[in-house]
């Protein structure tokens, strides 16, 4: 006998009790009397509809009776829907089939479309150098300020700290060998050829790579890129190329400034921990700093600029509908940009060694 109500608040308890009852009983025929039930909702109705199936597991036959009209109407309204909701894409396939499909999907969705985007951007970057008609006035400057100039304080601060920490950690080892003065070589070469470009690129990837991905993803979600296309404007040319120019112009400067900040950081540590005065430090600098290191750093920064903008653009255009998609694209863009920057740093490091 069911009392009073069977609603979403007590359905789970009801099913649990009934399950216990079915397990313990010796009866093979049971009757559920709904005479005293005066309130039921969708959860309760579906639970009642499921009872025969649950009881059948224990080889018990169930009879449900005495429901009043109101309860019957509710139970009629909330019946289990006999629709097969199987996902057409859900196929049972072997491990190698799945691996093959995933690999093929990765290549077509990511590698090939990334290469297409790279070629598209390269084409328009070169073509638009000679055609200013399709460029909005001031847009390259705006992008240069947004990507490069506005990043200056944080990049310089980080580079200074890293230069300082690098020199600080090295100073203990160098002091043991009486090679104090080599702190200059270590800091200058490390900052100019390696750390400066890398720190700058990682900071810009985090700051501007994410913003590029979010901007393009939002434009895609709100059909702004479609609108551009149907106005006869190429979204790559209109949105991405100014960012490419802006980052290519500013990242080398940003990198040089970051290197300087890092070297100053190193000089501070050298002064306090190795008694190398700034005068000694900066007098030795020209002896250890080669033109090749500076040019390597600048070349790296240009490659990194290209990577950051392309990765942001790629993930921006890959967005799936909705705000959640924009968030995912942004995260992927930052992670991929940093990873690609580090890989490119390795490749360029080997090439220019």
């Amino acid at each position: 006998m069911l009392n009073n109500k069977l609603t979403i608040s007590n359905t789970a308890e009801f099913l649990h009790d009934l399950d216990n009852l079915f397990r313990k009983t010796k009866e093979t025929n049971l009757t559920i009397d709904l005479a005293k039930l005066n309130e039921i909702d969708s959860a309760g109705s579906l639970a009642i509809h499921q009872l025969p199936e649950i009881a059948a597991k224990y080889h018990i036959s169930i009879k449900i009776e005495n429901a009043d009209e109101k309860i019957k109407r509710k139970m009629e309204l909330f019946r289990p829907v006999a629709v097969n909701f199987t996902n057409p894409r859900e196929k049972k396939e072997g491990l190698f089939m799945v691996l093959g499909e995933k690999t093929s999907h990765f290549f077509t969705e990511y590698v090939i479309s990334f290469l297409y985007l790279v070629s598209d951007i390269l084409y328009w970057s070169i073509k638009d150098l000679f055609s200013r008609k399709h460029r909005r006035k001031g847009e390259v400057i705006n992008q240069a300020i947004s990507i490069g100039v506005n990043a200056l304080p944080i990049v310089m601060a980080m580079a200074f700290i890293i230069g300082l920490v690098l020199a600080l950690q090295s100073s203990f080892q160098l002091r043991n060998f009486g090679a104090n003065v080599y702190i200059v070589d270590l800091t200058v070469i490390a900052m100019m050829a390696e750390m400066g470009p890398l720190i700058t690129a990682i900071m810009v990837a985090g700051r501007s790579g994410s913003s590029i991905a979010a901007e393009i993803a939002t434009m895609k979600v709100t059909a702004e890129t479609d609108a551009l296309q149907t106005m006869g404007l190429n979204p790559i040319r209109f949105v991405v190329i100014p960012k490419i120019y802006g980052s290519l112009i500013t990242l080398p400067f940003l990198t040089i400034l970051a290197c300087m900040a890092g070297i100053i950081g190193g000089a501070v540590a050298a002064n306090f921990y190795l008694d190398i005065t700034p005068e000694i430090f900066f007098n030795r600098m020209p002896l250890v700093l080669y033109q090749k290191d500076i040019l390597t750093g600048i070349f790296k920064s240009l490659c990194f600029a290209f990577i950051i903008v392309i990765t942001g653009t790629f993930f921006g255009f890959k967005v799936k509908e909705g705000a959640e998609g924009v968030g995912k694209s942004t995260t992927s863009a930052v992670v991929a940009a940093i990873a690609l920057v580090i890989i490119a740093d390795l490749v360029l490091g080997i090439l220019f060694y």
């Binding site: 399709h134 709100t222 059909a223 702004e224 479609d226 609108a227 149907t230 106005m231 006869g232 209109f238």
Partner: protein
């Protein structure tokens, strides 16, 4: 006989093994206001996006002004799109630009007109949609109705002979909807535009449409005049008109 502006033949589209459109064929003549009507998910917007060349190629042909959409390359596309105005459901104005900059964009990019003429043209189009005061505002500062009118102004800035509208009335109150309908009618009458509109708004259809293309489950279930549509024997289309005019399903 009126010139055929749009000719869609045997267009079939599927995504992930799901058939979205099947053998869709219809045409739109010059000066018509053709409404593509159908339930949500019936494939209307897919048809529109294929007509605009925004989706990858699919079996079938879409010809607009005699140009096969499948054969659009970069140079042809630029010229082709100048003949179209597209009015997106959410406006799709660029958020980083003011309303005036948004509307001026196609002119700046496709013409060599001097800046003062461009500004005058923008003011004229804004006045046409009763939005003079929004010249310096950003899209985020506009209400839904204003946003749509600004989007319409941008869509018609190049005086395109063909205007596509994707659910222009969605989210508008009845008065704003009627104003928008009047604007579209005026554009057709005064500028001789052909209009293709995807919409659910039956009141709007009754006010302005002279051709109805009804899409049901990815197929064209009806193509004909508004008068024929109202007495059509396609049950789903009859239900649309009945419910849309206040009747019961």
């Amino acid at each position: 006989m009126q010139e055929k502006i749009i000719d869609v033949k045997n267009l079939s589209v599927s995504f992930d093994e799901r058939q979205i459109l099947e053998d869709v064929s219809f045409s739109v003549n010059q000066g018509e206001i053709a409404v593509i009507l159908g339930e949500s998910g019936s494939g209307k917007s897919t048809i529109l996006k294929h007509m605009l060349g925004l989706f990858p190629l699919a079996p079938g042909t879409v010809t607009i002004f005699g140009q096969d959409i499948a054969e659009l390359d970069e140079d042809i596309a630029m010229k082709f799109y100048r003949k179209l105005g597209v009015f997106y459901q959410n406006g799709a104005l660029l958020n980083s630009l003011t309303v005036a900059e948004n509307i001026a964009l196609p002119l700046e990019q496709h013409t060599d007109l001097p800046a003062d003429i461009i500004e005058d043209l923008v003011r004229t189009k804004l006045s046409l949609v009763n939005l003079n005061h929004a010249f310096h505002l950003y899209p985020s500062q506009l209400s839904g109705g204003m946003l749509k009118r600004a989007a319409l102004a941008r869509a018609i800035i190049m005086d395109p002979p063909l205007l596509f509208c994707d659910e222009p009335g969605a989210g508008l109150d009845p008065v704003s909807l009627a104003t928008l309908d009047e604007l579209i009618l005026n554009l057709r009458d005064q500028l001789g535009m052909t209009v293709v509109m995807v919409t659910h708004e039956v009141t709007s259809i009754l006010r302005i449409a002279n051709k109805v293309i009804f899409v049901n489950k990815g197929r064209i279930a009806f193509e004909g005049s508004l008068e024929e549509a109202q007495i059509s024997d396609v049950p789903e289309l009859r239900a649309f008109f009945r419910v849309g005019t206040g009747g019961k399903k």
